[in-house]
Each structure stands twice: as structure tokens, then as C-alpha cells.
């Protein structure tokens, strides 16, 4: 909001420079974001918090400045008192049919005005704060709003049917063309300022075009009123129409400032547009009294919450300067119990803590001490944070960059990706709307986000990528009213070749086993060792290169090469490998404690054996069978190589493993090992129906 320095000086005598004013206001919570020169004036740009509508005017800002500088406001701000018209006569001009939405309504008829341009000083004032001059009467209502904070509206009296005002709820479907030349349809929830026949203004928001001031206007009806805040807010939302007036009404104006504002505007209209004013009409059906705030010991509460030592008399001085009156016990100054009544312009003082803030901000936050709370206890990370940290570190060390993608994704991904166990693939969480076209689905998988990252980087000519993301995925809760299901997932994507720092030439091309190895490494870093994969058909993965990831026999995610279909949709022309794991399913598992195994005293002897296997035979079956033969001198089995091609039948592969033999009490002889190895190879061959390659 813009505040003119010269205008402020009309309202209060301050010796401070514009910059000093800015510093002082900022210090008490009226954040001055900038000061700029305008002609012979300075304009302060104040960023007000939503609880301080009372400062949406020069009067409000002057009031704060008055408390800071302990200077009273100039009398001018509170002049123009008049005796109102008796209620009986007033009722002939103004009727309030909806007092629950209109607490107070004042009107004054000003006759024989001459509509014309405003004098230069008025134009300057308005332009200084960024407002445009229209005509003298319109400018005056605008001017008084910015001066005293009270929005008001001037009607062309002769265009009001019956020459009178009825404040009532609009009828459903009733229409009005507002000043912005838009026809608006009203409903019964909205308050309208009507003439004898039809709405002439949307109460508190915008006047109607039909009854507005024009160059031909002679007689003016000046409305200065107070409306229900909630109702103005609701109507403004429904009509999608926010104005300077509605902004103030919905935050709250000063109901006791109406007459003052009306008088000020009247005086200016009479002075600048030659009008002659009639009596004030003031309909005030329900007078609300402020609810007192009770404090047992305001000084003590200030100290308890802020650490500031402010004597009770200083607390009361600050509060009373702000217009907050206290029921001081004259007879017993020792009595700390007091009631505080906040002024009608403040809508934000309801409890003792609110008083504390008022006192603290004027006593100065800079005077509050700076100390650490007393020692308490040991800090702690999230239970799984250390494991996640190691997982992240391992991925980082092995070349993965960490991605973070939006949690909402496009609906076009629906059903295309198999979701990890724990997240439903069909019962999704949907947003009412989004700020990104189409992205209304709370992601049930992180993979679309990573694929978007791959696309983006491909477009930047980065074709060798390893990315991962750790974040939440969502699916619907058990029932409609249940909170959605949130699970923390790890997703990875790999494509291209191995790369080296500062080297243009890449290394080996990445394949399925790089992806698998990365999953194993990441989970191992998090303390999960028993990771197994088994072939499976997965929606988004290429048949033959897709697998379930299992931990302790339970499927926790999927791994493989992206399907040709999804690759084509993304215009990927190189293999892309993805993996996704539900971390919540595995991170709670206990980490195995390590027990030392004595080191072998005697050397082991290794023998390689290659089996001819069918293409659909799997290594894990061979290992499982070999495991059953362990014990005695046969100790271990490791994968060496798999070969297909020349010398091997079309439907077969040669699978080579290395078996290790060792004794705990002596060095085995070649002959012993030979015999045992032959025996094992034979047994396995018979059991699985496979033959060693000769």
C-alpha cells in the first residue's frame, strides 16, 4: 500500500525524515518495502500484514507513528461533527432490511453539485499513491478512503428510483451492471444496496453503472456504511470481484469512523464541487460492544512470553496510545487485574497474547534478549535417516544425481506404470485442479518424473544419465473419507554409458545388470542385504528384461528396461533402465549385526565349470541347487560368465561358475579336489538335467 509522506504530515506533526519514518514503521511491523520520490513528496510502499486493516489508510499509519513518537494526531483528523437526522425522518430515505449483513448505514444528500475536474492538489495526492483522477466527487470519495480508511460510494440521487435506498439481500437471479460495465448476476446470499426497484450497488464491493456519478449529476447521495466482513468476502469470491472497498470491508473498517468519514467527504464536496449538504442519516441497528481482554498481570505476561521487562505503567501507556483502554484500578495501584478494551478500528485484539505483541513491538523486538533455551536432551534424526543418508551417499558416489520432481503428474500416465506394493495402481489421489496443465494426479510412482528429467536432459545433449529420486507416492486411502496412503519410494533411471570426469570418451554401455547392481548397492548401503530378483512381466518394462525386486521373499519393487512402447512415446532412441522400490516396506527391517568369522588357516582351491543350459534356465536355480551341496569341503559358488553364440546351440547358453573347496585343518590335494568337484558337477547335472561343456 502506498502512503504519501506529505499527507501523513497533514495528520501528525512528525520531525522524522521519510527514511526515518520508514525505519520506525518497519520496526513496529509496518514493513516499508521501498520509498520513492514523487514531485515534492515521498511515497512509502508498506507491506501490511492481513491483521492490520486499520493501517490501510493515512490515518492508521499516522496513528502508529503517533505511538512511536508519542505525538498526538492533529485535530483535523477528527472534525466535522454534526447532529444526525432523527430516525423517523431517516427511515424515509434509508431502510435496512438485512441488519445481520449491514451493521450501520449512513447517508447524506448533497444537492446542486457541479461535477468537474479535481483541483491540482487533489490530483497530485491521488497520483502520488498511484490512483487516477476521475472527477471531483469520485476523487473525493477515493481520497477520503485513503485518508481515513473508510470506503464510501456516491450515487446520482436522481437516478435512484423513488429517491431512496433499501439495503437488502439480492433476489436470486437479480442482475446489476457494475461500474466496470460487467453485468453480474446476484444471489440471495449477497447484500445489495437498492433503490425502490432494483439493485444500485453490490454492497461494499462496487457501485452500479446506472446510478453512478456522471457529468450531468446534480444531486448526490453519499453512502458511508459498515458491512459484515464474512459476507463481503464471500460475495467478492463468488463474483470474482475484488476492489479497494471490498479489500477493506472484508478485513474490517472502523464502525465508529463512519460519521467522521462522511463529514470529511461532505465538507470536501461542498468546498470543491459547490454542493450544499443535507442532514446526516445514520441507521445503526445493532451496536456491538467490544469484548474486554482480561489480564491478571500484563507486565508479567510480557516478561513470560518475550523476556522483556516492561513496567505495568509503560505497558498501559503503549496500549492506551494505541487506543486500547484499560480499566485501571485508581484506588488500588497494586491490583494487577485489568480489563482492556480495544478500539473499534482494531479487529485483531482478542486475547492477552495480542496485547503482549502490541507492547513488545512498540517496546522494540530489538530489545528482546538473545539466548539459547536451557539444555534439554540429545537430538535425534528420524529413525531411518542414517540409513537413507548412506543410501543417498552410495548412489551419489556411484554416479547418480539426485532429482526432485513435482508430486503431481499428468493423468496420461494413469495405468501405464506398475506401482510398487503398498501403492494402488488404480485407486489414485486426484486434485480438484492444478496450476500445471493436466497435472492433477498425485503421483503413484516416481518414474514419470524421472522420465521427464531424462527427456529434458536428452534435449540438452546429455545422453549418459543416472538419476534417482526419493520421495512420496500416493494412492487413495481405504475409504472415501480416509486420508490418502503415502509411501516413501526410491526410484532410479539409468541410460547411456559409464562416464568419467573431464573425459569426453565414455566407458561401457549400461545394461540391466548396472541397474540391478545399483539397486543392490543402494539397498545394501541401507542395511538391506538379501535382495533377490525374479523375472516377471511388468506393465512398463520390456518383457525378458524385467524383474520383481524381492527382499526376504517379499516383492518390494520392480526393475528393468523401459518398454518399447513407453520409450517410443518419450522418443527415447537408446535403452533406458528404471527401478522403483517401496522404502517404507524395507527400512523398518532390523539391520543384521555382524559376527566375526575366523579367517581360513589353509588355502582354498577353485575350479570353474561351464554348464550348457537352456535359455530359460536361470542362474538362481543353479545356485540354489549348489547351496544344498555346501558343507564339507565345498564352500562357495560365484558367477563367472554367461556365453551364447558360436559353438552353442541357438536355444542354449554356456553358464560358467567358480566353485571353491577348502578344508579347515589341512591343505587339500589336487586329487581330492578333483574327485569332489567331479562328484558335485555330476550330482548337479543329474538333478537339473544339464551337462558340463566339454
Amino acid at each position: 500500500m502506498n502512503i504519501s509522506y506529505n499527507w501523513l504530515k497533514d495528520l501528525i506533526n512528525v520531525e522524522l525524515s521519510p527514511i526515518e519514518v520508514g525505519e520506525q514503521l518497519t520496526r513496529v511491523g509496518l514493513a516499508v518495502e521501498g520509498i520513492h520520490e514523487f514531485g515534492n513528496d515521498f511515497v512509502l510502499d508498506i507491506d501490511l500484514t492481513s491483521n492490520r486493516p486499520d493501517c490501510l489508510s493515512h490515518l492508521g499509519v499516522a496513528r502508529e507513528l503517533g505511538v512511536i513518537t508519542e505525538t498526538p494526531l492533529n485535530e483535523r483528523a477528527a472534525k466535522y461533527r454534526e447532529v444526525p437526522l432523527p430516525a423517523v425522518l431517516a427511515g424515509e430515505v434509508v431502510t435496512i432490511e438485512a441488519p445481520e449483513l449491514c451493521n450501520r448505514f449512513t447517508a447524506r444528500i448533497i444537492r446542486n453539485v457541479k461535477i468537474g475536474p479535481s483541483p491540482q492538489w487533489l490530483v497530485d495526492r491521488l497520483e502520488a499513491i498511484g490512483e487516477r483522477s476521475i472527477n471531483n466527487v469520485a476523487d473525493i470519495t477515493n481520497y477520503v478512503m485513503h485518508e481515513l480508511g473508510q470506503p464510501m460510494h456516491a450515487f446520482d440521487l436522481d437516478k435512484l428510483a423513488g429517491g431512496r435506498i433499501i439495503v437488502r439481500r439480492a433476489k436470486d437471479g437479480e442482475t446489476i451492471t457494475t461500474l466496470d460495465e460487467v453485468e453480474r448476476t446476484l444471489s440471495e446470499s449477497m447484500l445489495a444496496i437498492c433503490d425502490a426497484e432494483k439493485p444500485a450497488a453490490v454492497a461494499g464491493i462496487m457501485g452500479g453503472l446506472g446510478s453512478s456519478i456522471s457529468d450531468d449529476t446534480v444531486n448526490v447521495l453519499l453512502e458511508v456504511a459498515y458491512f459484515d466482513r464474512e459476507n463481503i468476502r464471500a460475495t467478492s469470491r463468488k463474483l470474482n470481484l475484488a476492489t479497494e472497498a471490498s479489500y477493506r470491508f472484508e478485513r474490517g473498517v472502523d464502525v465508529e469512523n463512519l460519521i467522521n468519514a462522511s463529514n470529511r467527504a461532505t465538507q470536501l464536496i461542498c468546498d470543491l464541487a459547490d454542493g450544499s449538504a443535507g442532514d446526516l442519516i445514520d441507521i445503526y441497528p445493532v451496536k456491538k460492544s467490544a469484548i474486554p481482554v482480561i489480564s491478571n498481570d500484563i507486565s508479567g505476561t510480557v516478561r513470560r512470553l518475550t523476556g522483556l521487562a516492561v513496567a505495568a505503567k509503560d505497558c498501559i501507556r503503549i496500549l492506551s496510545a494505541l487506543g486500547i483502554r484499560s480499566s485501571e484500578s485508581e484506588t488500588d495501584p497494586e491490583d494487577q487485574l485489568r480489563e482492556f478494551l480495544s478500539p473499534t478500528w482494531r479487529h485483531d485484539i482478542a486475547i492477552e497474547e495480542d496485547l503482549v505483541e502490541e507492547i513488545a513491538r512498540h517496546a522494540g523486538y530489538e530489545n528482546i534478549g538473545t539466548e539459547l533455551p536451557p539444555a534439554y536432551g540429545a537430538g535425534e534424526y528420524q529413525a531411518n535417516e542414517q540409513r537413507l543418508k548412506r543410501l543417498r551417499q552410495t548412489l551419489t558416489d556411484t554416479g547418480f544425481d539426485e532429482a526432485i520432481s513435482y508430486s503431481f503428474i499428468d493423468t496420461k500416465y494413469d495405468g501405464k506404470f506398475k506401482t510398487v506394493p503398498g501403492i494402488s495402481q488404480t485407486d489414485l489421489v486426484t486434485l480438484n485442479d492444478s496450476v500445471i496443465e493436466g497435472a492433477v494426479r498425485m503421483r503413484p510412482t516416481l518414474i514419470p518424473g524421472l522420465l521427464a528429467a531424462v527427456r529434458h536432459n536428452f534435449n540438452q545433449q546429455r545422453r549418459n544419465l543416472k538419476l534417482y529420486e526419493i520421495g512420496k507416492a500416493f494412492s487413495a486411502g481405504d475409504g472415501y473419507d480416509e486420508l490418502p496412503n503415502e509411501k516413501e519410494l526410491l526410484a532410479m533411471v539409468l541410460t547411456g554409458s559409464e562416464t568419467y570426469e573431464d573425459r569426453a570418451m565414455t566407458g561401457r554401455e549400461l545394461d540391466f545388470f548396472d541397474a540391478k547392481g545399483s539397486v543392490e548397492a543402494a539397498l545394501s548401503a541401507a542395511g538391506i542385504e538379501n535382495v533377490k530378483c525374479s523375472a516377471d512381466m511388468i506393465d512398463h518394462l520390456r518383457p525378458g528384461q524385467s524383474a520383481d525386486i524381492k527382499v526376504g521373499g517379499e516383492t518390494v519393487g520392480y526393475l528393468g528396461r523401459l518398454s518399447d512402447e513407453i520409450s517410443a512415446t518419450n522418443k527415447f532412441r537408446q535403452p533406458v533402465f528404471v527401478a522403483e522400490v517401496n522404502l517404507d516396506l524395507i527400512l523398518d527391517a532390523d539391520v543384521k549385526t555382524v559376527v566375526y568369522k575366523p579367517l581360513p588357516k589353509f588355502p582354498g582351491i577353485s575350479r570353474d565349470v561351464s554348464f550348457i543350459v537352456k535359455r530359460n534356465d536361470v542362474y538362481s536355480d543353479l545356485v540354489a541347487e549348489l547351496e544344498t551341496l555346501k558343507g564339507g569341503h565345498f564352500r562357495d559358488v560365484k558367477f563367472v560368465d554367461i556365453y551364447e553364440g558360436a559353438g552353442i546351440a541357438e536355444d542354449e547358453r554356456s553358464l560358467t561358475v567358480r566353485l571353491e573347496y577348502r578344508s579347515d585343518d589341512r591343505t587339500l590335494t589336487e586329487a581330492e579336489v578333483e574327485a569332489l568337484h567331479d562328484q558335485i558337477v555330476k550330482t548337479i547335472g543329474e538333478k537339473l538335467g544339464i551337462h558340463p561343456r566339454i
Binding site: P373, G379, Y381, D397, E402, N432, V435, E501
Partner: protein
């Protein structure tokens, strides 16, 4: 004995003649293979002129014809010639071998300034780096890290935080809603409630996490970002403790000379409320760096970081804590905003593009 002497001298002369090509070797500019063939030639020379079957060895047999009194001198002569031959050959051999060794080393010389074969390392996301730094600081100050739901009920996102229905903050168009009426949390303050329900008081926690606001992405706005919320509730907690705590962690992050500034503000869930700024880490509050207006603080010397205040009594009551017995402070700030200032990022959307060229700038 002059005959015998002459014969010895003849052997010497014969050797000297044959050895001439090796006598004063100039190897500069010769190729390795030339030098290797020289060495082979020298090898043949060595076999011929040294050892038991050589001409000089044969002259020793002449000693019988030498007068006994001259035999000593003759023997010395033979030995000296023998030695001379051996030394000459050895010296030449050494020279050739040294050349060959050098040439071979030279041939295998590598350019040690070429880049090492270093597998490319990955990078943590900027947000993770900063989050971990801040978490470490707070854990060392006795805080527990909390983590919680991202989709919440209105109760946790609003009501319990003293934002009743009809409150402007609630009616603003900022909040994303699911079709069945749940809110994407618009601030991590929701964790204040969840954590106090779980842990009770006294409590000291920080809660990092994602929050969501209905802002269309542009250079300074994104619809999803990260906040860190801090909460400390105990008997006797005051705003001085808030100032002390915020100042302490900022000093640990940005250096001991960091100073903070608290300005009165308004948040529904704190009373009194304050916004906090800290002196710019780049210009140390002077507003100028590198002879120009300081970029991170835009020349103001201050960086506006977050909101804070004393926990509103209604928030304490919502979790069954008596606000006359306990008091506490809370604070919150956005990590993207902080990163944007720390690294002078001009477009906050970079945080979510996952452009590797961006990600690999931070470690």
C-alpha cells in the same frame, strides 16, 4: 723382451683400431635401433678382445720368453692392456645401455597432466545438501527431526493452527485440494500438531518437508517447495530463546559474524509473531560486494528468511497443552528461497527441472 712387448703393443693397436667406432661415441640424434646394433657390435668386440681366448690373454703365454727379472714388468704391461681393453668396452657399454634405457623410458613417458580415470560422481540435490546441513546443526542443539504426512485434513492444515473456517488465510486460493476434500499441506506447521500429539511437551523438533501452494510456476514461484519448521515448547520459553536459537543456527551455517533482525509480523499460529532476517552472508550487511550492489541481498544488507513467533495459545490448547503453564516458539522458512539467495539463482524453477548441468554444480 722387446719382441714380446711389441706383440702386446700390436694387440693394443689392433684393439684400438677396432674399437675406434666406439671410442668417442656421439649418440645424440641416433635412433634406438642404431644404438642397439652398436651394442650388438660392441658385444662381438668384447668377446673377441676380452676373456681367455682373446689375443691379449694369449700374450700372457709369452712370459716364458721374457727374462726372469723382467717378468714382473711384462706381467704388469699385459695386465694393464687387458684392463684398458676391459675398461674401454665397459665404458662404451655403459654409455650405450644408458642411452637405450633412457630411450625406452622416453618412449614410455606419459603426460601426467591428462585427466585421471575417475568415474563420474553424482550429486545430491541442492535441497538435500542444505536440509542435511541444517538438520545436523539442530540435532547437535538437541532437536529431533520429524517427518510427516504431505496430504492432510483441514484440521491439521488449518483448524489446529488457529486458522478457523472463514479466516482469510484459509479462504485464499493458495491451497490444493483433493477431490475428496483433503488439503496438500500448505505449510510444515502441520507437523507441530502431529508431533505434539505424538510426543507431548516439552518438545524440540524441526520438521523439513514438501509443501504445496497453488502458484503457477514462474521465475520466483513454484507450486511445490520445501520448508523447515522448528518448534520448541517448554516451561519458561520466551521470545529471547527464539531469537537466540535462530541466531545460533544461522551463525553456525553462515559464520559467527552473522546478525539477525526480528520484525513484528502476523501469522495465525503465533502470537506475538515476527519475521526474521539475517545479515547477508556475501556482503556481511554492507549491501555491496565486488564493487557493485550485492546480489544475494539486492543491496539491502539483509536477507529475509522466514516467519516465527510464540506458539499461539489456541495451538497449544488444540494439543491439550496448558498455555499458562507452557510456552514455546516456532519458526519456519523455505529452502528454495534460501538456496536461491545463497547461490544467486535467478529462476527458482531450476530446482525441479532436474537438469544435470544444474545439479552437478553443487556438492
Amino acid at each position: 723382451m722387446s719382441d714380446e712387448r711389441d706383440k702386446v703393443e700390436a694387440v693394443r693397436t689392433a684393439f684400438t683400431e677396432e674399437f675406434a667406432p666406439y671410442a668417442d661415441l656421439r649418440l645424440d640424434g641416433m635412433s634406438l635401433s642404431d644404438v642397439e646394433s652398436l651394442l650388438r657390435g660392441l658385444g662381438e668386440l668384447k668377446i673377441k678382445h676380452s676373456g681367455k681366448k682373446s689375443a691379449i690373454a694369449a700374450t700372457m703365454k709369452l712370459i716364458g720368453g721374457v727374462a726372469p727379472e723382467e717378468r714382473g714388468a711384462f706381467g704388469q704391461l699385459v695386465q694393464s692392456v687387458e684392463k684398458e681393453i676391459a675398461n674401454s668396452i665397459e665404458a662404451a657399454e655403459a654409455g650405450l645401455n644408458a642411452f637405450i634405457l633412457n630411450a625406452k623410458l622416453e618412449r614410455e613417458r606419459i603426460d601426467v597432466t591428462l585427466p585421471g580415470r575417475r568415474p563420474r560422481a553424482g550429486h545430491l540435490h541442492l535441497i538435500t545438501i542444505l536440509r542435511q546441513q541444517i538438520e545436523d546443526i539442530f540435532v547437535s542443539m538437541g532437536y529431533a527431526i520429524e517427518n510427516d504426512r504431505e496430504i492432510e485434513t483441514d484440521y491439521y492444515n488449518f483448524d489446529a493452527l488457529n486458522i478457523p473456517e472463514g479466516h482469510p488465510a484459509r479462504e485464499s486460493q493458495d491451497t490444493f485440494y483433493t477431490t475428496n476434500g483433503f488439503a496438500l499441506r500448505s505449510q510444515t506447521s502441520t507437523v507441530q500438531i502431529r508431533a505434539m500429539e505424538r510426543r507431548g511437551v516439552p518438545i524440540r523438533i524441526i520438521a523439513p518437508g514438501k509443501v504445496f501452494r497453488r502458484d503457477t510456476p514462474d521465475m520466483t514461484h513454484v507450486p511445490m517447495f520445501h520448508q523447515i519448521e522448528g518448534l520448541c515448547v517448554d516451561k519458561g520459553i520466551t521470545m529471547a530463546h527464539l531469537k537466540g536459537t535462530v541466531t545460533e543456527w544461522l551463525q553456525r551455517l553462515f559464520g559467527d559474524d552473522t546478525i539477525t533482525r526480528f520484525r513484528p509480523s502476523y501469522f495465525p499460529f503465533t502470537e506475538p509473531s515476527a519475521e526474521f532476517d539475517f545479515s547477508c552472508f556475501k556482503c556481511h550487511g554492507t549491501g555491496r560486494s565486488d564493487n557493485d550492489r550485492c546480489r544475494p541481498c539486492k543491496g539491502s544488507g539483509w536477507i529475509e528468511l522466514g516467519g516465527s513467533g510464540m506458539v499461539h495459545p489456541n495451538v497449544l490448547r488444540a494439543v491439550g497443552v496448558d498455555p499458562t503453564e507452557y510456552s514455546g516458539f516456532a519458526f519456519g522458512f523455505g529452502l528454495e528461497r534460501m538456496c536461491a539467495m545463497m547461490y544467486a539463482l535467478d529462476d527458482i524453477r531450476l530446482m525441479f527441472d532436474n537438469d544435470v548441468r544444474f545439479l552437478e554444480q553443487f556438492r
